[in-house]
Each structure stands twice: as C-alpha cells, then as structure tokens.
C-alpha cells in the first residue's frame, strides 16, 4: 500500500503537471506531490522497521533496510528540493531565462525523475532496475538542456551519449548475470533476475561469467556514479542545468547508481570468492578521489567546483564499499546520507548566489555575507561540512573510513589523507573570498527558500554529534546486508 502510493504519486504528479502544469500554482503542486511521496516513504520505512523485509507485487519489489533508507533519503531531498525550486524557478522565469512552457516540462520531468529513482531503488528485478536507471537518464536529459544555451545543449548531448553507452554496458552485464542465473534457477526465466533469488543461490553461480558481468555492470552504473575516468558528463550536466536539478543529480542520482553497483557487488562477491570486486571498487574509488581533488583547483565555475567535489565524495563511498566489512559499510552508508544532504544544500545556496550576482564564475561572486547573511553563512557552513570539519556528519563518516583503511588497507590511507587535504585547500580558498569581501549583487524578486538549506545542515550536524540508536541500528542492519 505504502509502496503503491510511493510509486503512483510521482507518476500522477508528472501526468498532472504535464497536462495542467502551465498554471501559476504549478510549483506548489510540485511541492505537494513531493511531500506526499515523502510521507509514503516514511510510512514504508516505519513498516520495514517494525516488520522486517518486505517482498511485494509477486516478488517484483523488495524492501530491506538498505534500500528503504535510500528511499527515505531520496524522497526527503526530493521534497526539500521542490520547496527550494519554488522561488528559484520563479526568479529564473522573471529573469527571462525560461518560458512558462519550459517550466511545465521542468515540473513534469522532475516528478518523472523521482519516479524512476524510486523504482530503481525498490525493484527486486535487476532487469527492471536497469530500465529505471535508463529512464532516469532520459527524464533528465531535457532538464539539463532546459535553458537551451549552447553550453547546456552540449552538456545534455554529452550526458545522453556517455550515460547511454554506459547503460548499454550495464545491460550486457545484466544479461550475463541472467545467463549464469538461468543455469541454477531453471530456464523458465521468471525468477532468474530477481535479486532475492539470485542472492539465495549466489554461491552456485559460475564465477568467471559473474566476474565478467561485474566488470560490465561496474563500468555501466559507474558511469552514472561519476567514477573517474567515466565522469566527464558530470561536471557539465551539473553546471549547465538548472540548480534544483544539479542538487538532485548530485544528491540523489549518484547515490542510486552507487546502490545498483553495491547490489551487484553483493551477488558477485558471493560467487567469485576472490578480491576482484573489492579491488575494482577500491581502485575506481581511489582514482576518483585523487583526480577529482586535483581538478578542484582548476575550476572557475561555482557549480562545476561542487560537481567535482561530488565525484570526490562518491569516490570515498565507493572505496569504503570496496573495503567492505561492517564498519566500512556503515561509514559508506552514513557518507552517502550526509553527502547527499550537504551537497544539495550547497547547490541551493550556490544557485541563489549565482542568481544574486548574475554569474556562476567564482571570481565575480564576492561578499555574499553582506548581500545576504543567510546565503553567505549557508554556503560557508555547507562548504565546511562537506570538507569534513569536525562537528558535522561528514567528519564522522570520513573518520570511520580512514580508521578502517588504516587497519585493513594501510597503503591507501596516506593517498586518501593527501587527497582530502588538497580538496580542503582548494575548496576553502575559493569559497572564502566569495563569502567575505566586497559585495556585487542585486536583490531577488522572490524571497529565496533557505529553510531547506539549514534543515539539511542541521541534520548533518546532528548526525555528526549524535546518531539516534534506531538510526544506528538501521545503518548496521543495512551494512550487515551488504556484508563483505
């Protein structure tokens, strides 16, 4: 029931906003649908906490602690982003960067995007998961090109082609998985792609084929996670699309893609009995962290800067999942949560800063703190949080990952620490003059919605100081599921 609501609300929202979305209240309707989706997600989470794993709809949907936590997070950030986009997109309309028709497309696609992500998270069928991930790409291509500037068209094209090719690799990986599973589960083919069935027989699956399948799946979904060297679509799509889309791409889509990778890893690891999946994840993760932190120095566009920071943080989480074990998995899940909350709040403030100063070029954004103390402090606090400054949750997760790395992978610790230091210096030296210094901005016609920013940062702060016991149990259960 909750699940049905969770999936139907965004589809209904997309249809409603697509048909009747040109009216004045569309942003509010969008927010209302997102709120409904979030409530459904909460109800689903409560049910899973009370009664344990759920298998619904003829086993096509499977909810366990691992995905229900991501479902709740996705629905929550989806809701706050809808709240943020309300005044933001109105201002864009007033500045003449959009037409009402395009705003309708934006709202409709926004809901459709939420639907595809929730479907990818809740489905038990690896094939359907692929279909939903491809759907997530398709529904956001037109959002990236919403402004129709040459740069945004280029970003959209790059996004489409790179993710399209990547996702074709993932389909091939899924097929290989199916071939191996069919041997064990029988050839009627109904159950051979269901994750729960695959999980039950994973030790009997043919190792060489599964190893090959994992490489294809990792390359395919890894393109969407933004792992280096498959990342080149990510900064462009983040910088050229509208800010709410940058926030959900960075905060949610990357998480969902990483979820797909981790689900595949659980299966493959049960079969191959070698270090291959772990090593691959650690390798890709570490390369992403290092390359992204070095590229941070060269950025001039505020949204590109934080897009590279997303690659870095996804690299950290991927590395942690690669290490495996209860603590590293716990830390990786926590890291996904706090990164998603912090990064979306940073994009919110960066978007407002860009609107106020009329530019995304960082050397022309100055003195945000005098312009608007809330935007200035929001950006400053958000940047400090993402850089892992102690009281915030990112510190906790990075600390856990680093200490685990010292124990199990000592060689990687200095590389990680150095990369984190480089990233700290790069981001801090760029954010500091933007926040302080002489002002250059203007007033906005619609008061910005900064509640989401501070709500996100407050949660991240809370997670850094104190993780409530039921939440900790929840993460632990999820970490246990991933195993490794």
């Amino acid at each position: 029931m909750e699940l049905l609501l969770l999936l139907i609300l965004p589809v209904g929202g997309a249809a409603w906003l697509g048909i009747a979305g040109a009216q004045r209240r569309a942003p509010e309707v969008n927010a209302a649908f997102s709120l409904g989706t979030f409530l459904a997600a909460c109800a689903l989470a409560v049910r899973v906490i009370r009664h344990g794993d759920l298998l619904l709809g003829e086993e096509q949907f499977f909810i366990d602690p691992f995905n229900v936590f991501l479902v709740t997070l996705t629905a929550f950030v989806g809701m706050t982003t809808a709240l943020f986009s309300r005044p933001y997109m109105r201002t864009e309309l007033d500045h003449g960067r959009l037409t009402p028709g395009r705003l309708r497309l934006y709202h409709s696609m926004y809901q459709l995007f939420m639907f595809t992500m929730l479907l990818a998270l809740t489905t038990n069928n690896m094939g359907l998961m692929w279909v939903a991930m491809e759907g997530a790409t398709l529904s956001t291509v037109l959002l990236v090109t919403l402004y129709r500037t040459p740069a945004s068209l280029e970003a959209g094209w790059k996004y489409f082609i790179l993710c399209g090719v990547g996702i074709a690799q993932a389909l091939f990986g899924t097929i290989l998985l199916y071939v191996a599973a069919e041997k064990v589960l029988g050839s009627q083919g109904v159950t051979a792609l269901l994750w729960t069935h695959l999980d039950a027989v994973k030790s009997q699956l043919e190792p060489t084929v599964l190893a090959l399948a994992f490489v294809f799946l990792l390359v395919g979904y890894g393109t969407k996670v933004g792992l280096v060297p498959l990342h080149s679509w990510l900064p462009d799509a983040h910088a050229e699309g509208p800010t709410p889309i940058s926030a959900v791409l960075s905060g949610l889509l990357l998480n969902v893609a990483l979820y797909a990778v981790v689900r595949s890893k659980v299966l493959v690891e049960g079969s191959v009995h070698s270090q291959l999946p772990s090593r691959l994840l650690m390798g890709f993760g570490l390369v992403s962290v290092v390359v992204a932190s070095l590229l941070l120095w060269r950025q001039r566009d505020i949204k590109r800067l934080f897009a590279y920071s997303s690659i870095e943080h996804m690299g950290i989480a991927t590395f942690a999942f690669g290490m495996g074990g209860p603590i590293a998995n716990f830390a990786a899940l926590l890291h996904m949560t706090v990164h998603s909350l912090t990064k979306s709040s940073i994009f919110f403030t960066a978007g407002h800063a860009a609107q106020k100063t009329g530019t995304q070029a960082m050397d022309r954004i100055r003195g945000l703190i005098t312009l608007s103390p809330t935007v200035g402090w929001g950006l400053m606090l958000g940047s400090l949080a993402i850089l892992g400054v102690p009281p915030f949750g990112v510190f906790t997760s990075e600390f856990l990952i680093l200490t685990t790395a010292m124990r199990t992978q000592p060689w990687a610790t200095p590389i990680l620490l150095a990369a984190l230091a480089v990233a700290f210096a790069a981001i801090f030296s760029k954010v500091q003059p933007m926040v302080f210094g002489e002002t250059t901005g203007r007033r906005l016609p619609h008061a910005p919605a900064l509640l989401p920013v501070f709500a996100h940062l407050a949660i991240v702060l809370l997670l850094g100081l104190y993780i409530p016991p039921y939440l900790a149990d929840w993460y632990r259960a999820a970490a246990h599921l991933i195993g490794g």
Partner: protein, 222 residues
C-alpha cells in the same frame, strides 16, 4: 561430421548477416542509407528471433520478434527518416578515421570480442551459443561507430545498433530476457528516440547544424 540442422544453419546465417551489416554501417557515410541499414539489421534480428521461437517453442520469443519488427523495422526508422527530412541532414562529414582504417580497427575488435565471449560460450547451454561472440562484436563495432562519427544522427544510429547487439546477445545466450524486462527496454529505446528528436531540434535551433564540433566548447579551461 553430420551437417547441422537447417534451422541452425539459418540462424548462423542470420548471425553472420548481422555482423556484415555492422561493418556496412561502419563504412556508410550517407545518413539515409545508414538508417536503412539499421532497419535491415532490425529485420534480420526479428527473423533470427522468429527462427529461434520456432525451433525452441518458447512463446515469449514470438512476442519479442513482433516487438522487434514493429519497433525497429517500422517505427524507429520511420521516425529517423522523418527527422532527417525535416532537419535536412543527408551526409556525414569525413569521419575522424578514414574508412579503411576504421575497417582494420573493426577486424581487431571482432577477434577481441570472440576471445572475450569464450567463457560465456562455454557456460551457455543454448543451441545458439556460438553467436554470442558475434553479438559482442556487434556491440563493440557500434561503439566504434559512435566514436568515429561527428554527426549527431550517425551517433544515434550507432547507439541503436549497439542496443540491437545487446538484445541479440541476450537471445543467443539465454533465449531472451523475461518479458517484463524486454518490454521495459523497448519502451526506453522508444522514449530515447523521441527525446533525441526534441533534442535535435533544440541543437538545430541554436546552431543551424547538427555537426557536433559545435558542441566542443565545454572543456576544462586553464
């Protein structure tokens, strides 16, 4: 050595035709002909699916063949032809690598694909397992085509041909995927082409051209 049964021989012929068509697409510069080759590839794929359905008696393969026929032989080529007419793009510019060079790279790719397919071929129990190498080769050749072409339209045909290869792989390794997944894939492909149609008009409106060298300004600046 006893001769292979007729159905098997026909299936192998289909596989060979698919590979041949991939090479033909790789060398074809005219966009209209490229779309026709794509439609032909779809037709061969549908024929192979039909043969397999008849040989194995798996009902869902009939549905799959019908789906391929409607989508890839009729609907998608029609949409693409319409786009070409309305956008007036008939020829691709000189590819990044000349035709003979591309062909040589293609040959190396086929050898590579066959060696990569070895472990899967050994595992698969289907009568068509020898075709898995061909499917992988079709995927990689389509990939090569996407890399070497400059025009958006040719890249899209490459993308679609890659999906043909993946589906042929699914068919020869395990007699197709579960129905719900195949329907989902077909839906995604259809939506992808529709989204691209919209997208092309946006590019066109902005640049008066579908040449992708306009789309090369987003590089890392120093």
């Amino acid at each position: 050595m006893s001769p292979l049964p007729l159905g098997q021989q026909l299936l192998d012929t289909c596989a060979a035709l698919l590979l041949l068509l991939s090479f033909a697409m790789l060398s074809q510069r005219r966009v209209v002909a490229l779309v026709n080759l794509y439609a032909l590839q779809g037709a061969v794929l549908a024929a192979a699916t039909l043969l397999l359905a008849w040989r194995t008696g798996e009902d869902h393969l009939y549905v799959s063949a019908a789906l391929t026929l409607v989508l890839k032989v009729a609907l998608l080529p029609w949409l693409l032809h319409r786009l070409i007419r309305r956008l007036q793009v008939y020829r691709d510019t000189e590819p990044l690598l000349n035709v003979s060079g591309t062909m040589l790279v293609g040959l190396v790719i086929v050898v590579f694909a066959f060696s990569l397919a070895q472990p899967i071929t050994r595992l698969a129990s289907t009568a068509t397992r020898s075709a898995i190498g061909i499917a992988l080769a079709v995927v990689l050749l389509a990939f090569l085509m996407m890399i070497t072409r400059r025009k958006a339209m040719s890249q899209v045909v490459g993308f679609l041909s890659m999906e043909n290869g993946v589906l042929f792989g699914a068919m020869s390794a395990s007699y197709g995927m579960p129905m719900v997944v195949e329907l989902g894939i077909a839906l995604d492909v259809l939506v992808a082409v529709l989204v691209l149609g919209v997208f092309f008009f946006q590019i066109r409106e902005r640049f008066d051209s579908l040449d992708l060298h306009h789309l090369e300004s987003l590089k890392e600046h120093e």
